[in-house]
């Protein structure tokens, strides 16, 4: 298992989802991906993409109302 960081700040949806999708395709089961976003839509869209594809969302955090941090465990 390894841990990875993806900076998707300043990108508007669906680009954060596309970046997550592309990154996850390079990872293996059990890897953890930490995603940083700024589009509020990512709070719903990234977890929705994870649910559809069977990945586990470990955390969704929003700091100071701007930066969103989503942690995913790859299935």
């Amino acid at each position: 298992m390894s841990r990875h960081l993806l900076d998707a700040q300043r990108l508007l949806c669906p680009l954060p989802v596309i970046r997550v999708q592309d990154k996850v395709s390079t990872l293996v089961a059990g890897d953890v991906l930490e995603v940083l976003c700024s589009d509020p839509g990512a709070v719903n869209d990234v977890p929705a993409w994870c649910r559809i594809n069977g990945h586990r969302v470990l955390a969704v955090q929003q700091a100071d109302g701007r930066q969103i941090r989503i942690v995913i465990e790859v299935a």
């Binding site: 669906p14 839509g41 719903n44 929705a48």
Partner: protein, 330 residues
């Protein structure tokens, strides 16, 4: 959503494809401008996939899509919408994906006569032909009005369980949605593309005119969705945030653009797109001051920042409303 459900009901394995062109309306202005809105922000394609219980693949085609926008063989619709070329392009991309991932056919929600350009009886075969999908393109909502396709002839789907919808009315689709128990779905007749929007198309034409060439980058078309755009001179344009969300979005472009920001009064960040010569600085600053809370003050102090250079302080008289011709507004 409906077309996928019709095929799913027949026991076919379906996965969704959603193309990102850069011109998608969905969520963008909402995300930028209505940060505090109580309305849930969601990507409809993802939401639909989740409701249907299918996988969704979102594919970024924004680079290749440029050629569709710039050189549509079938021309534009009412604005800069190249709908027929766009549909052919997307079906062709879906076909390529289908082959790589070993699927058998493509399903779309097209309905004969629903759209004035891309969904006419005479143009729907054009999409089949130009995309290369041919008989592997199934339109379940109007299939009974069209010649049987490969999935129907092979018995992969039962033609008698497909539909014969036609025309602009969405009532049959709404009835079918009710039949399936779908009460929440995207606006059935809503435009999903900024290129169908007259104001957006005018801004894109202005961009091409000012640069002397028909071209764009992704940042260009993103910025056209945001703020007021004023062109006081042919060689530069000002992009002015209208509210906090837009200002936050524009902040992300500070390092790429010359920009102005009022310092003596509250006011929006103003990006300068184009060449701001020495003689233009005062005019740009006076316009920026006009949109600050110091618009009625005798003088407003602003900071002019050219990326990589020391910021320059300016004190200017805000431009009067009557000195701002309407033609400046793009």
């Amino acid at each position: 959503m409906l077309a996928a459900q019709v095929v799913l009901e027949q026991g076919v394995h379906v996965e969704g494809i959603n193309f990102f062109t850069g011109f998608c309306v969905e969520g963008h202005t909402h995300a930028i401008r209505k940060r505090e809105s109580a309305t849930p922000k969601r990507n409809n394609a993802l939401w639909v996939a989740e409701q249907l219980g299918i996988k969704l693949h979102i594919i970024d085609v924004s680079s290749e899509y440029k050629d569709v926008v710039l050189n549509p063989h079938h021309g534009y619709g009412a604005n800069l919408n190249p709908c027929l070329d766009c549909k052919g392009f997307m079906v062709a991309r879906a076909l390529a994906w289908m082959r790589v991932h070993h699927f058998d056919f493509i399903v779309t929600g097209e309905v004969v006569g629903q759209r004035p350009k891309s969904q006419r009886r005479d143009t729907m075969p054009v999409i089949q032909a130009e995309s290369g999908a041919g008989e592997r393109l199934l339109r379940p909502l109007c299939a009974q009005l069209l010649a049987p396709t490969l999935p129907e002839r092979e018995g992969w789907v039962a033609r008698e369980r497909l539909f014969d919808f036609s025309g602009r009315s969405r009532k049959p689709q709404m009835a079918l949605a009710a039949h399936y128990g779908f009460s929440d779905y995207a606006q059935p007749a809503g435009g999903c593309c900024f290129l169908t929007d007259a104001a957006y198309s005018a801004k894109l034409r202005d961009l091409w005119g000012a640069r002397g060439r028909r071209d764009y980058e992704l940042d260009d078309i993103m910025l056209l969705k945001v703020g007021r755009h004023l062109r006081p001179r042919p060689h530069f344009k000002l992009i002015i945030g209208r509210e906090e969300g837009e200002n936050n979005f524009l902040e992300g472009y500070r390092k790429q653009f010359v920009h102005l920001r009022p310092v003596s009064h509250r006011g929006p960040l103003v990006l300068v797109d184009g060449e701001l010569g020495g003689a233009d600085v005062e005019l740009a600053a006076r316009v920026a001051a006009r949109f600050s809370q110091g618009r009625d003050a005798e003088r407003v102090e602003l900071e002019l920042v050219r990326p990589g250079e020391t910021p320059q302080r300016l004190r200017v008289q805000p431009l009067r409303y009557e000195d701002m011709p309407q033609e400046w507004y793009v």
